[in-house]
């Protein structure tokens, strides 16, 4: 069962409060601004900065 659509709408990046996008493989939620991925484990979005992984160049 994929993650709930309505839930995605109400989630935002805990760091910048900006919009997040679902990764194509549904393994995480991406904040382009902060270059962070928040993991989704067992359909549970983990919206904690400590759990997020950075991608791309880190400044």
């Amino acid at each position: 069962m994929p993650i709930d659509e309505k839930l995605l709408e109400i989630l935002a990046c805990p760091k910048c409060k900006g919009d997040i996008k679902l990764k194509e493989d549904e393994s995480g939620l991406v904040c382009e601004t902060c270059k962070l991925v928040y993991p989704i484990k067992d359909e549970i979005p983990i919206m904690l900065l400590e759990e997020a992984k950075s991608f791309g160049e880190t400044k």
Partner: protein, 316 residues
């Protein structure tokens, strides 16, 4: 109807969620899996719930989530997240108590302004009263907490009242009196006593065991939440007690009887911040929303004992 529960993987939050799902509501649940006790215990609390399509869980901290957007989507709030427990609130970790119990509550209330929330039910505590001379304790008894934890719960409750007065957020605070039953927090007395009895271990009792408590069975506390949500009066505080007053030593005798084993007790000094006696006058909740606890201490302890006996592995 969609409802928000904060602290949803905790003892009381998960029990409220279970009931509300049974009643047909849709739930958004938030929990940050704070390390006041192991994550695996909290995960177990919501394991069954996660299978239900009407239960949506977000692992996150109410202090950093975009809570406003979430509140746009819900019709009611059951605010259960906090750092509970009196003893650990003394000392250098007090800032965590202010953060989660005071700031967390304020952030949620602030974000509730101008939303269509039917009711904001806030979890408060009998610890706001402190040591009271006259029993039973009614809602008009002065609030003079004797622990730092009680101070933060009183602050949270005062904030809820202020946001009702200032912004018409329909808040209600429920002052729980020692809640027990299946999934009770592992730092609480009955959990520790039952575990020790099952394992044949010695258990420390703080004080002489003659302290009395108004123990509230979890299902009754849950029922109080649902009834207060439906019919409670906005801006009010209500006691949620179990309807009887029991000495800790009496409760231990009951657990011995249920288990058929003798407890190995070691009486040690009582802790600063523990009230000597609690006993709730629950007539206000009865009058306003028909609160009437149904499970007595014997039946309640029996259910907790049986549940813990079956689930002890999760706690070890």
């Amino acid at each position: 109807m969609r409802l928000l529960i904060t602290g949803v993987s905790g003892f009381i939050g998960s029990s409220i969620a279970k009931k509300l799902i049974q009643e047909g509501y849709e739930i958004i649940g938030i929990d940050s899996f704070l390390d006041n006790y192991p994550k695996k215990i909290k995960e177990n609390n919501i394991r069954e719930l996660l299978k239900n399509k009407r239960f949506n869980f977000i692992e996150g901290n109410i202090l950093s989530l975009n809570i406003g957007k979430i509140l746009d989507q819900v019709d009611g709030v059951f605010h259960q997240s906090a750092i509970p427990g009196v003893r650990a609130s003394w000392g250098i970790n007090f800032n965590q108590y202010t953060e989660h119990n005071v700031n967390g509550t304020q952030v949620l209330l602030e974000a509730s302004k101008n939303k269509e929330i039917r009711k904001f039910v806030n979890a408060s505590s009998s610890s706001v009263y402190g040591d009271v001379n006259e029993l039973p304790i009614s809602e008009t008894t002065p609030t003079l907490p004797i622990s730092p934890y009680g101070v933060t719960k009183l602050a949270g409750e005062n904030l809820a009242n202020l946001y009702f007065k200032g912004y018409c957020i329909p808040t209600i605070s429920l002052r729980y009196f020692t809640v027990y039953g299946p999934r009770q927090r592992p730092d609480m007395a009955f959990h520790k006593i039952i575990t020790a009895i099952i394992l044949g271990r010695e258990i420390e009792i703080y004080g002489n065991g003659e302290q009395t408590r108004d123990f509230t069975f979890i299902d009754d506390a849950v029922e109080a939440n649902l009834k207060a949500f439906l019919n409670g009066k906005d801006g009010e505080v209500y006691n949620v007690g179990g309807g009887s007053r029991v000495k800790l030593n009496q409760a231990i005798r009951i657990i011995e009887e249920i288990s058929g084993k003798k407890a190995k007790l070691k009486y040690v000094d009582s802790h600063k911040g523990d009230a000597k006696h609690t006993y709730a006058d629950i007539s206000k909740g009865k009058k306003d929303f028909g609160y009437s606890p149904e499970i007595d201490i014997y039946e309640g302890l029996k259910r907790q004992f049986e549940w813990l006996n079956d689930n002890l592995d999760i706690y070890r």
